[in-house]
């Protein structure tokens, strides 16, 4: 294993090292803030590593594939992890609760995600996914009080374990059919295997899709999402929604492209069905949801439905592969940034108080805490795909890809879904514009109240700053995407 490989693996190495250091530190002297600092440093270092590794892109053994694309997502995920870290510090720290392990778990989970992103082999995929997942169970269940986190954790554990098993079994079948474990290998052998024993191969891939579909929470594997989103501590929810899902999707697309699974029509039909179902059902579920975390859960279902359209487009010669890859990059980036921002705001407003996650607690936010309200508005508009936000460019990509591959059914579903989506995103915005005793929109009595509100809104927590930062990026991507498009094109 020569130095080159080490260099290429820099982020992974850094993260593992951080994990080790954290353990040592915990065993020497337990101290939250120190642990926090170490984690932060570790993540930053890993970021540097990700940048550094770009010089040495190459396959590392059969297991990992270090390329720019992967490294970009590694960076993105590390950023997300940093955000989570910051949110975690301010959000859920009931006195006396010890969080050293939490940081350790965070790092491990990130490590898993990075591995997952770079995996080019079933084993590394399994490894990454499990590492990420197992750490996540613990993170979800971390708060020492309350039943919801625990319930969420146990549900997630059992269901995702079940999903992993399905995935594993699928792998087993594929292995049985092809005798290969690496994507590339599968890609080579698949066609022959298909000729010899299609059922084995198809059943296997279908099961793999099911397993991954669970992690992406696409219909019909979405049931767990709202409960886990709701039960988990808000920062963890954010982490789950961005790091876990993002990484898994990258892995899925690698598996798809390398394994050339887009060749098989029946698989594509299955995937299309899943996509359409997710777009519609996700939005329908969110339609009248009152709890903002659950609402975001449902909306995420829809969003990964949209994203699947791109994978399906692979199978049609219509759109060129570069565009497709670009769309995935852009959409995921936009989605991750927006989601992080949204959860940052939610965290800063609701904290860990479940009741505060109710949409009603956002009433009149514009007049109480304009900054948060503005941030959340932008986030919602980005989710809804209104121009000037990154979300719009993302949707723009998906629709163009869809059109070029002439996936009219999927586009129809996408349009309907987005139309429904506008409603619930707007509901949140409307709630924030409401204000008590505003009978005809211009009664005098709430003027005084406003003065009060303005007065009480001087404190801007770190979450808000974070949200603002993320949203400036979202807006930048939305208004001046050219540089990023070029960058994504070069990946």
């Amino acid at each position: 294993m020569n130095a080159q490989l080490m260099m290429a693996l820099m982020p992974i190495l850094v993260l593992s090292l951080t994990a080790v250091v954290l353990m040592i530190q915990a065993s020497v002297k337990r101290d939250q803030s120190v642990a926090w600092v170490i984690t932060a440093l570790g993540l930053l270092l890993a970021l540097w590593g990700a940048g550094y590794a770009r010089g040495f892109t190459q396959p590392v053994t059969v297991l990992l594939m270090v390329d720019d694309w992967g490294l970009f997502f590694t960076t993105l995920i590390l950023v997300a992890a940093l955000v989570t870290l910051i949110l975690s510090k301010d959000t859920f720290s009931p006195e006396g609760e010890r969080k050293e392990e939490y940081y350790l778990l965070l790092v491990l989970s990130v490590l898993g995600a990075v591995v997952l992103i770079q995996s080019s082999h079933m084993v590394s995929l399994l490894l990454g996914m499990e590492l990420m997942g197992v750490a996540l169970y613990a993170m979800i269940a971390f708060p020492e009080k309350g039943q919801r986190p625990l319930e969420a954790a146990i549900k997630y554990l059992v269901l995702s374990a079940c999903a992993s098993v399905i995935l594993l079994y699928g792998f087993a079948l594929i292995y049985a059919a092809t005798g290969e474990l690496s994507y590339a290998g599968i890609g080579l052998k698949a066609s022959i295997a298909y000729a010899q024993n299609p059922i084995l191969l198809m059943a296997g891939t279908a099961m793999v899709l099911a397993g991954i579909g669970f992690k992406l929470s696409v219909v019909p594997f979405h049931m767990w999402t709202p409960d886990v989103y709701e039960g988990a501590p808000t920062p963890v929810t954010g982490f789950l929604a961005t790091v876990s899902k993002g990484a898994v999707f990258v892995a899925l697309s690698r598996f798809f492209v390398e394994g050339q699974l887009y060749e098989y029509q029946s698989l594509m039909t299955a995937l299309a069905a899943v996509a359409i179902a997710s777009m519609l059902i996700g939005n329908w579920l969110a339609l009248r949801q009152e709890n903002i975390k659950r609402l975001l859960a449902y909306s995420s279902i829809a969003h990964f439905g949209y994203l699947l359209v791109v994978l399906i487009a692979l199978s049609y010669s219509g759109a060129e592969a570069g565009l497709i890859r670009e769309s995935i990059t852009f959409y995921l980036a936009a989605y991750i940034l927006t989601t992080l921002a949204a959860f940052a705001v939610v965290a800063s407003i609701a904290g860990e108080d479940e009741r505060k996650n109710h949409i009603a607690s956002f009433d009149g936010l514009f007049w109480r805490r304009p900054i948060q309200a503005f941030s959340l508005t932008v986030a919602m508009l980005s989710f809804a795909g209104i121009p000037l936000t990154a979300g719009f460019i993302g949707k723009f990509y998906i629709i163009s890809v869809g059109i070029q591959s002439q996936l009219w059914w999927l586009i129809t579903a996408l349009v309907i879904g987005s139309a429904i989506g506008i409603y619930y995103y707007l509901r949140i915005i409307f709630a924030m514009t409401m204000s008590s005793g505003m009978s005809s929109g211009m009664s005098v009595n709430d003027e005084g109240e406003d003065q009060k509100n303005v007065a009480q809104d001087v404190v801007v927590s770190s979450q808000d700053v974070l949200a603002m930062l993320l949203l400036t990026m979202v807006l930048l991507l939305g208004t001046w995407p050219q540089p990023f498009i070029e960058f994504a094109g070069r990946l």
């Binding site: 059109i403 349009v415 929109g441 211009m442």
Partner: protein, 500 residues
């Protein structure tokens, strides 16, 4: 660059208005008015350099250099998206209308809005900016961007400062327009894709996309996408139902902008994009469109007659009037098109004024219900007289702008389809019915005892000034519409050449 500045001025002005509230709560409206007027003056100064109206030569649809103004700068070269604005006669008229009515709207908000004035005026200005963008953007991506973005401040205006049922109205307005907008987005992207597969390169520029070769069926579908987006905004039966709610619930200034300007973006879109981009398809479709228009004219009039809510009645009258625009556009001959353009301008003024009257009534009586009114003329003769003027204007009294518009539309339509003309002409009769019933219910008849001793304030100087502006505009349009016609003529001529 002029066109970019026009928009920037409004955007920055919005921010200023927002901040100026910290200085003094009466500041925002002054700032807003100043900004709009400044924008208007700025525009006029740059127009003064243009050739004589009668010497305007036809702007070739595929050659921007022949247009009055043209600005192009790269934005997202990866997709051939650029910041491209261009101005021809029609857009010029629309921009002028927008700015004038913008000033009117600010004046309408003068005493109407008493909370969060800064934010209100900011939203108002931003809406105007968006509308200007729509009227000038010639890059379809940019156009779509403005098309969608202008709705957001509008949404806020309705949702925050609206009346009792504002939430529902704002939501309905936004969803109708956004959903239809999505269809247009799909159409735009599909059009671009077709063009790209033909020419091999991405471009969203109107000038490149014109006469894109495509299969007939494709053209029909894409045209439909644009058509729906535009007629929802216009609005046309049966897509009109968002309008009565939105207009009724919006604050006065909001209604003024909605009815006066926003509806026109739909008509503008039809003339600028829906037909020229898909000439053949549009012509195949024209009969359906005209039938919708004729139905809308009558349907709107009948429903207007039934209303007891002052603003709602006016809203339905807009449905009826916009029906004429649709007829004019799809009759697609010079007379009808001139009529349609004329209608856009004239209706802008007459309806805006009526909404202002409605607003001042609500301000004084705290109701829009005409059953609570009656005999108001006695206490507010000036308002009564003004109302009478605009009512007869909207029922199409010759000598005022709306008549010229409707007459030209019908005259042009008659050459295409006499029977539809006869149907649409019913609108003139029903129009008289609802206009006069409005007058009767609000201003004539026995004074409502509850109101007699309220000492209602008649129109003041500011209101009369605003009204005077619009009255003069309508009279001018009515007895000497030639300038408008001359400005629009070359454009329409070149458009007419586009279609088979």
């Amino acid at each position: 660059m002029v066109m970019v500045n026009l928009i920037l001025i409004l955007l920055v002005g919005g921010v200023l208005a927002l901040l100026s509230e910290r200085v003094n709560e009466n500041m925002p409206r002054r700032v807003a008015l100043a900004v709009v007027l400044f924008d208007l003056v700025y525009f006029l100064i740059h127009l003064s350099g243009m050739p004589e109206l009668t010497q305007l030569q036809a702007p070739l649809p595929d050659d921007p250099s022949t247009w009055l103004m043209h600005f192009k700068a790269d934005w997202i070269p990866a997709f051939g998206i650029s910041i491209e604005f261009a101005l021809d006669g029609i857009s010029m008229l629309m921009v002028l209308l927008t700015l004038v009515l913008g000033a009117v709207a600010v004046s309408a908000s003068w005493t109407d809005v008493i909370v969060r004035r800064g934010f209100f005026e900011a939203n108002l200005l931003w809406t105007l900016a968006g509308v200007l963008g729509v009227f000038m953007a010639l890059d379809l991506f940019l156009f779509f961007l403005f098309w969608e973005v202008m709705l957001i401040p509008m949404y806020f205006m309705i949702a925050i400062w609206g009346h009792e049922n504002r939430g529902y109205a704002a939501m309905k307005f936004f969803i109708f327009t956004q959903a239809s907008g999505l269809l247009m987005l799909v159409s735009i992207l599909a059009l671009v894709a077709v063009n790209q597969s033909a020419t091999g390169q991405w471009s969203f520029s109107y000038f490149d996309l014109l006469n894109t070769p495509m299969a007939e069926a494709t053209a029909h579908w894409l045209m439909l996408g644009f058509f729906i987006a535009f007629v929802v905004k216009l609005p046309v039966f049966p897509f009109h139902t968002w309008l009565p709610d939105a207009h009724t619930q919006a604050p006065t200034a909001g209604s003024v902008i909605l009815a006066g300007i926003l509806l026109k973006t739909g008509a503008y879109g039809l003339i600028r994009f829906a037909v020229p981009l898909f000439p053949q398809a549009a012509m195949d479709f024209s009969y359906v469109a005209m039938v919708l228009g004729a139905v809308g004219v009558v349907y709107g009039a009948v429903l207007a007659f039934a209303q007891t809510d002052f603003k709602r009645l006016i809203a339905y009258s807009s449905v009826s009037h916009m029906g004429f625009v649709l007829l004019g556009v799809y009759a697609w001959n010079e007379l009808a098109l001139q009529g349609a353009v004329m209608q856009m301008v004239a209706h802008g003024f007459s309806t805006a004024a009526l909404f202002m009257i409605a607003g001042s009534l609500q301000e004084r009586l705290h109701t829009r219900d005409m059953r609570e009114m009656g005999g108001l003329w006695q206490q507010m003769p000036r308002m009564g007289a003004v109302a009478m003027f605009f009512v007869v204007a909207s029922l199409g009294l010759p000598g005022l702008g709306n008549f010229v518009a409707e007459f030209l539309v019908l005259l042009g339509l008659f050459q295409v389809d006499p029977w539809l003309t006869a149907v649409a002409a019913l609108g003139l009769i029903t129009g008289a019915a609802y206009s006069l019933i409005l007058m009767q219910r609000a201003f004539q008849g026995e004074p409502n005892p509850k109101l007699v001793d309220q000492g209602l304030m008649d129109f003041g100087r500011r209101e009369m000034l605003t009204m005077a502006v619009m009255m003069l505009a309508l009279i001018g349009l009515g007895i000497y519409p030639q300038p408008i016609l001359d400005i629009a003529q070359p454009v329409l001529q070149s458009l007419l050449e586009v279609t088979p």
